[in-house]
């Protein structure tokens, strides 16, 4: 993070090299027989299409900013509530993960039926934002230096004063990092809803109309426009966050050992909270269907799904298809999970060592976050085929970004005095990393894992839907076509359930590991 002019130069040099490489590769049609156009070809095409863009951009900006705003307000408020009253966090866990891991391909048709106009787009954008900002808020607030809180408490300060004077200040960098990851998600959410929802304007609609032309330069132009929108917002928060970060990193390592709130809890209380966490999302599901007033053929309640799967005349066939699909999807999901996390981890480590190289890579990372995968599918199938390597690529691209930003944040927040120790003893950058930085950012590693794990299934399902034609993703898409509403809701529920199980496994491991090390979970 040292702003030496030479480093800045290195970054620009790398960026320019990257663009030049892209230009040559694109112009000479070296990748996939020309399915990857060069940057200049894309820009020329955007210029030709310039009269098409304004209305589409306006529409996407409107939906994504509304979703960004609403999702962030909800996320921060929920985060504060969860930290003030930890019980609410445990109760809402099922609901939170459900929101985060709901496959857009399952929820979009349902939103389109229940809401109209801009509303489905705003809701999908909001859903992409809420969980990330909420998690960032909780992480930031709960990682505040407990010594400072103790001081306030010693002077008779209450919970709210600690929140205002200590926790909120130290949480700002983390919340801003949340906003950064959330911005591309809001744009992508809006575009996905536009793509499927049958409206007239929006970059997603424009993309759908353009897909049939077989012209990659147009598709990349649309993707680049989406990247510019979320990139602008991303860098705005980088600038703000760099300002705040300077004053908020602790100088020394906090050695106070946190108390485990669940340790002395009555078994019965734990049981009721767990039950609550399971039943909250189910009752919300039930309530939403009740209030939407939709006929039961389309809108299945939790009981409707159970009935479909076990008691209807189609039950046996439905079970068979579901089990076969899960068997196809699960193995690759585990591999994808590991790959996504590993990629994010290596990238974050690399970024702490060679900051400028990573800065040059950021625009590409952003493109992978905002470029709708449906526009990249031709390129991907041409390069990777329609097998596991494509599925892995898609899964990594869906999962790595939130994990990467969280990890980078964790690494940046390691107190500088702790890092100075190995330095003073003549240790290399690598030694410092292994002895201090990695262990100290362990809570963030777990937080990153929690962000990766529920989304891995989503990544695999997207690949199945777009390219491989297998597993849950394909089952979901086919069921939509056949008006098999029972199966649509079943797949959505099963995918959320699986994600929650994965998530809980991480939480369990995290408690064990961090508890042993005397660290606080960054939940």
């Amino acid at each position: 993070m040292v702003n030496e002019p030479s480093n800045s130069k290195t970054m620009y040099r790398n960026l320019i090299l990257l663009v030049l490489l892209w230009e040559v590769v694109g112009r000479l049609d070296l990748v996939a027989g020309g399915a990857l156009p060069s940057l200049s070809e894309i820009i020329i095409r955007m210029w030709i299409d310039r009269h098409d863009y304004p209305l589409h951009i306006g529409s996407t900006l409107y939906a994504s900013s509304a979703g960004f705003l609403i999702g962030n307000i909800l996320g921060v408020c929920a985060g504060v509530l969860f930290v003030l009253y930890p019980m609410t966090l445990r109760l809402s866990r099922g609901f939170n993960i459900a929101i985060f891991s709901l496959p857009p391909i399952a929820i979009a048709p349902i939103l389109v039926i229940t809401l109209s106009g801009m509303a489905p787009r705003i809701v999908l954008a909001t859903m992409g934002v809420y969980f990330i900002t909420m998690t960032a808020t909780v992480v930031g607030l709960s990682q505040a230096d407990s010594r400072t809180s103790e001081l306030i408490r010693a002077y008779g300060g209450n919970k709210l004063q600690i929140l205002r004077l200590v926790q909120f200040r130290s949480a700002i960098p983390s919340i801003l990092a949340g906003f950064r990851i959330a911005a591309p998600n809001a744009v992508l959410g809006a575009i996905l809803a536009e793509f499927g929802g049958g409206g007239r304007w929006g970059l997603g609609t424009y993309l759908l109309g353009s897909l049939g032309r077989g012209e990659p330069d147009r598709l990349w132009g649309i993707g680049l426009m989406a990247t510019l929108i979320s990139g602008a917002s991303y860098f705005l928060f980088v600038v703000i966050s760099n300002r705040f970060l300077k004053g908020s990193t602790s100088i020394t390592l906090n050695t106070a050992i946190p108390t485990d709130i669940t340790k002395n809890e009555h078994v019965l209380k734990t049981f009721f909270i767990t039950m609550g966490a399971i039943f909250l999302p189910i009752s919300i599901w039930w309530a939403l269907i009740f209030f939407s007033g939709l006929p039961s053929m389309i809108a299945k309640t939790p009981w409707g799904v159970v009935e479909y799967l076990f008691f209807s005349n189609m039950a046996e066939a439905a079970q068979g298809r579901l089990v076969a699909a899960i068997a196809e999807t699960l193995p690759i999901t585990f591999i994808g999970m590991t790959a996504g996390l590993l990629f994010a981890f290596l990238l974050a480590i690399f970024s702490s060592l060679y900051f400028q190289v990573i800065r040059a890579f950021m625009p590409i990372a952003l493109i992978t976050q905002t470029m709708p995968l449906v526009a990249l599918t031709p390129l991907l199938v041409l390069i990777l085929g329609r097998g596991n390597s494509l599925t892995l690529w898609v899964t990594i691209s869906v999962t790595f970004f939130p994990a990467f930003v969280t990890l980078t944040q964790g690494i940046l927040l390691v107190p500088s005095l702790a890092k100075d120790l190995p330095k003073a003893y003549g240790g290399s950058k690598w030694q410092e990393l292994i002895i201090v930085t990695i262990p100290a950012s362990l809570p963030y590693l777990f937080a990153a894992t929690r962000l990766t794990v529920p989304r891995a299934l989503l990544g695999v399902m997207i690949a199945e839907w777009l390219a491989t034609g297998k597993g849950l993703g394909n089952l979901l898409n086919q069921s939509r076509g056949y008006l098999d509403y029972g199966m649509i809701w079943t797949v959505a529920a099963v995918s959320v359930l699986l994600s929650i199980i994965f998530y809980q496994l991480v939480v369990y491991t995290e408690r064990k590991v961090l508890g042993k090390l005397g660290m606080k979970t960054a939940e």
């Binding site: 909001t126 409206g199 109309g209 919300i284 086919q478 076509g481």
Partner: protein
């Protein structure tokens, strides 16, 4: 629960200021009538645009609200949810839903007598009949897989002999040779392929025994009872619009360049090609939208091949007689 409800309430107030928000239209107003199209605005629906622009619906006393479609819009869902009075869709999904789930649908007309979907391949690697698909990779939108399976079965080809992969609306993998063929509207995609400097060839599933309609006009039984007059008016106005449009297929698409087709991402030349190509698939001696007894039977027979058990009473031809 509070979170979610707050969000919905907040959403409502956040969006209420814009004209974009319109809750499900009430069906009480006698003149208000909503149709759900099957896809985004293109020449596939040109007849309705002509009807709207020339005032055919308003002179029938209908205030027509036209909803575009898209991949996430399941047309039948829109009419069950009461968001539209009528939807354009495909007979296989409708009949399957009636037969297996007891869905209350009736098919009251069809825009395409012959389904425009077909197998598209490149002239350099042509596939001219179902038999030539053996050992090849064919990209099919998941919703159409059942149609392809029916066509293969009718022609005595083993389903396992063809490698079927998902098709995601983009012909690039076909142009680059990653797949050998794709299932698409033959009225549309050969044009896009020719724009890339490659020539395409195609055959209709219809011509190889899969004789089903497309863009069938579907309503719920309840709408059929309560809005019969409006439905007949809609059919009459739409028929006029389509007759005007097909009289010379080159005339109307350019007129929509700044209205219906503005900013869709598609070119007007593409729409003109489409409009010409679909003429023979729509026109019919009995009048546009008509459904003859033989063609209904052909639909039922084709679908029966893949286990979709339809019957004559799922079609109602009496409204067509009243036009």
């Amino acid at each position: 629960m509070t979170l979610k409800l707050n969000r919905r309430g907040f959403l409502g107030s956040a969006v209420a200021g814009t004209a974009a928000l319109s809750w499900p239209l009430s069906s009480t107003a006698a003149t208000s009538f909503t149709m759900q199209a099957a896809w985004i605005n293109d020449a596939e629906f040109a007849g309705y645009y002509v009807g709207i622009d020339k005032g055919y619906y308003s002179s029938e006393g209908l205030n027509l609200n036209y909803l575009s479609g898209g991949p996430d819009v399941i047309p039948e869902s829109t009419i069950i949810a009461g968001r539209a009075d009528l939807a354009l869709t495909t007979p296989d999904t409708t009949i399957k839903a009636i037969a297996e789930q007891g869905a209350p649908f009736k098919i009251i007309g069809t825009q395409y007598q012959k389904n425009p979907i077909g197998i598209v391949s490149l002239k350099s690697n042509p596939i001219n009949s179902p038999a030539e698909l053996i050992g090849k990779t064919l990209a099919v939108p998941p919703v159409n897989v059942i149609s392809v399976e029916a066509m293969l079965k009718i022609n005595g080809i083993d389903r396992a002999a063809v490698n079927i992969v998902p098709y995601a609306y983009d012909p690039t993998p076909l142009i680059k040779g990653e797949i050998d063929a794709s299932l698409d509207f033959t009225t549309n995609v050969p044009y896009s392929i020719s724009q890339q400097g490659v020539e395409a060839t195609s055959f209709l599933l219809y011509d190889f025994g899969y004789q089903v309609f497309n863009d069938t006009v579907v309503v719920t039984e309840e709408t059929l009872k309560s809005k019969r007059n409006e439905l007949v008016s809609w059919l009459r106005a739409s028929r006029k619009g389509w007759e005007d449009n097909l009289r010379d297929p080159n005339i109307w698409p350019p007129k929509f360049a700044d209205s219906w087709f503005k900013g869709t991402g598609r070119s007007i030349d593409n729409e003109v090609f489409f409009n010409n190509a679909q003429k023979s698939l729509i026109e019919n001696d009995g009048g546009i939208f008509s459904m003859s007894e033989e063609s209904i039977q052909a639909n039922l027979d084709s679908l029966a091949k893949v286990g979709i058990k339809g019957s004559r009473d799922m079609f109602d031809t009496t409204l067509l007689e009243e036009i």
